[in-house]
C-alpha cells in the first residue's frame, strides 16, 4: 500500500503572497475584459476594421 502522500504546508507569508498574486491576476483579467468591452463600444460596427 502506498504511504501518505507528501504534503507541503504553506507558511502564512506564502499563503498571503499567493493570495496577493491571485488577486493581481484576477484584476488584470477583469481589466482586459473591460478594455475589450469599452473598445467594442467605441468602435461600434467597425470593431473588426483594423488599419494595417
Amino acid at each position: 500500500m502506498a504511504g501518505e502522500p507528501e504534503r507541503v504546508t504553506l507558511t502564512p507569508e506564502q499563503l498571503r503572497r499567493r493570495r496577493a498574486r491571485s488577486i493581481a491576476i484576477a484584476l488584470a483579467l477583469a481589466a482586459l475584459v473591460i478594455l475589450f468591452y469599452i473598445v467594442t463600444l467605441v468602435k461600434g460596427p467597425g470593431v473588426l476594421n483594423r488599419p494595417i
Binding site: 507541503v8 504553506l10 507569508e13 506564502q14 503572497r17 499567493r18 496577493a20 498574486r21 493581481a24 482586459l32 478594455l35 475589450f36 469599452i38 473598445v39 467605441v42 468602435k43 483594423r50 488599419p51 494595417i52
Partner: protein, 320 residues
C-alpha cells in the same frame, strides 16, 4: 572582441531558484521584473509619437496603444532579467533584482515575460493596429534576442546596436495613429538611437568594475575609460544636430529648434567635461552629471514636441 560563454558563467554562480517549490514572489517583485523606470521613458516617448502624429486616434484606443507598449516593454524587461540573472547576481547595481535575490524563480520570470509579450502584441493588433503590433513584437524580439542574448556579452557595441529597441516606441505610437511609419517618426527614432550610447556609457564609466567582474564587455572594460570618453563626445556631436532634424524637416517649430539647440550644446559641453576629467571624484562627478543630464535632455526635447503640438490647440480654445 570578447566572447564569454554564458554556460561557463552560469556554472560559477549559485543556483538561482529558491530551495522550495513554493513561490514566495509578491506582486511587487513581478512589477520590478518589468523595469518600471525604463518603462516610464518608453511610455513617454511613445506618447509623444502618438500625440504628434498627423491624424486622430480615439482617446480609448490611444490609451490602449500606450498600455500595450508599456506592457510590451515590461515583457522585454522580464525576459532580459530572466536571461541575465547570472550576471545580475554578480553586479552590485543589479544584485537586488527579483531573480538574483531569489524572490522569483527564472522559470516564473520567463513565463511572466512571454505571457505579457504575447498579450501586449495580440491586444495591440486586435484593438489598434497590425503595424504597431508588428513593431512592438519586433522591439521585444530585438531587445531580448538581438541585444540581451546575442550582443550584450559579445561586443562593446552592444548598447549602440541594442539601443534601436529603446528607440522604437515613438515609431510604434506614430504607427498606432497613422497605420504607417514615416520620415518624421524615423527622426524621433534617430534621436533616441544616438542618445543611448552617451547615456549608457556615462553610467558604465561609473560601473566599470561591476561590468568587468561580470565579464560584460562594455566599452570602458574592453577599450578603456579614455576611449569611452572619446566616443561619448563623438556621439554627443552626432546627437546635437540630430536633435534639430525634426525642425529641419518641418515637423517641429522654432520653439523646439531653440530648445534642442541649447540642450544639444549643453550635452556636448557636459560630454567634453567627461572627456577632460580623467580620474578621481571629479571624473565620477562629470560622468554622473552627464548621465543625469542626458535623461533631462531627452525628456526636454520630447516634451517640447508635445508642447508645440498642444499650443495651437490651446490657442484655438482661447480664441473660442
Amino acid at each position: 572582441m570578447t566572447d564569454i560563454s554564458a554556460v561557463d558563467r552560469r556554472e560559477k554562480v549559485a543556483p538561482l531558484a529558491p530551495a522550495g517549490l513554493i513561490s514566495e514572489a509578491g506582486v511587487g517583485d513581478y512589477l520590478a521584473l518589468m523595469k518600471p523606470r525604463v518603462m516610464s521613458l518608453v511610455v513617454f516617448t511613445a506618447f509623444v509619437g502618438l500625440m504628434i502624429a498627423p491624424g486622430h486616434i480615439h482617446p480609448v484606443l490611444g490609451f490602449t496603444a500606450l498600455l500595450c507598449i508599456a506592457i510590451g516593454a515590461g515583457a522585454a524587461g522580464a525576459l532580459n532579467m530572466w536571461y541575465d540573472a547570472d550576471i545580475d547576481a554578480i553586479m552590485t547595481r543589479t544584485a537586488s533584482r527579483p531573480i538574483p535575490s531569489r524572490r522569483v524563480t527564472p522559470g516564473e520570470a520567463a513565463g511572466f515575460g512571454l505571457t505579457l509579450g504575447g498579450f501586449s502584441v495580440g491586444v495591440l493588433a486586435l484593438l489598434v493596429s497590425w503595424l504597431a503590433a508588428a513593431l512592438l513584437a519586433f522591439t521585444i524580439f530585438f531587445y531580448v534576442v538581438i541585444y540581451t542574448v546575442w550582443l550584450k556579452r559579445r561586443t562593446p557595441q552592444n548598447i549602440v546596436i541594442g539601443g534601436a529597441a529603446g528607440a522604437l516606441p515613438p515609431m510604434i505610437g506614430w504607427a498606432a495613429v497613422t497605420g504607417s511609419v514615416s520620415l518624421e517618426s524615423f527622426l524621433l527614432f534617430l534621436i533616441i538611437f544616438l542618445w543611448t550610447p552617451p547615456h549608457f556609457w556615462a553610467l558604465s564609466l561609473l560601473r566599470a568594475d561591476d561590468y568587468a567582474r561580470a565579464q560584460v564587455p562594455m566599452l570602458p572594460v574592453v577599450a578603456g575609460p579614455r576611449e569611452t570618453r572619446r566616443q561619448i563626445v563623438l556621439y554627443s556631436l552626432l546627437l546635437a544636430p540630430a536633435g534639430l532634424t525634426p525642425w529641419l524637416f518641418g515637423s517641429a517649430g522654432v520653439l523646439y529648434a531653440v530648445t534642442a539647440a541649447v540642450a544639444g550644446v549643453l550635452m556636448i559641453a557636459l560630454s567634453w567635461r567627461v572627456n577632460r576629467a580623467h580620474e578621481g571624484e571629479g571624473a565620477d562627478r562629470a560622468a554622473r552629471g552627464l548621465f543625469s543630464y542626458s535623461i533631462l535632455y531627452l525628456f526636454t526635447l520630447f516634451a517640447m514636441l508635445l508642447i508645440e503640438r498642444g499650443l495651437p490647440i490651446l490657442a484655438g480654445h482661447a480664441a473660442i
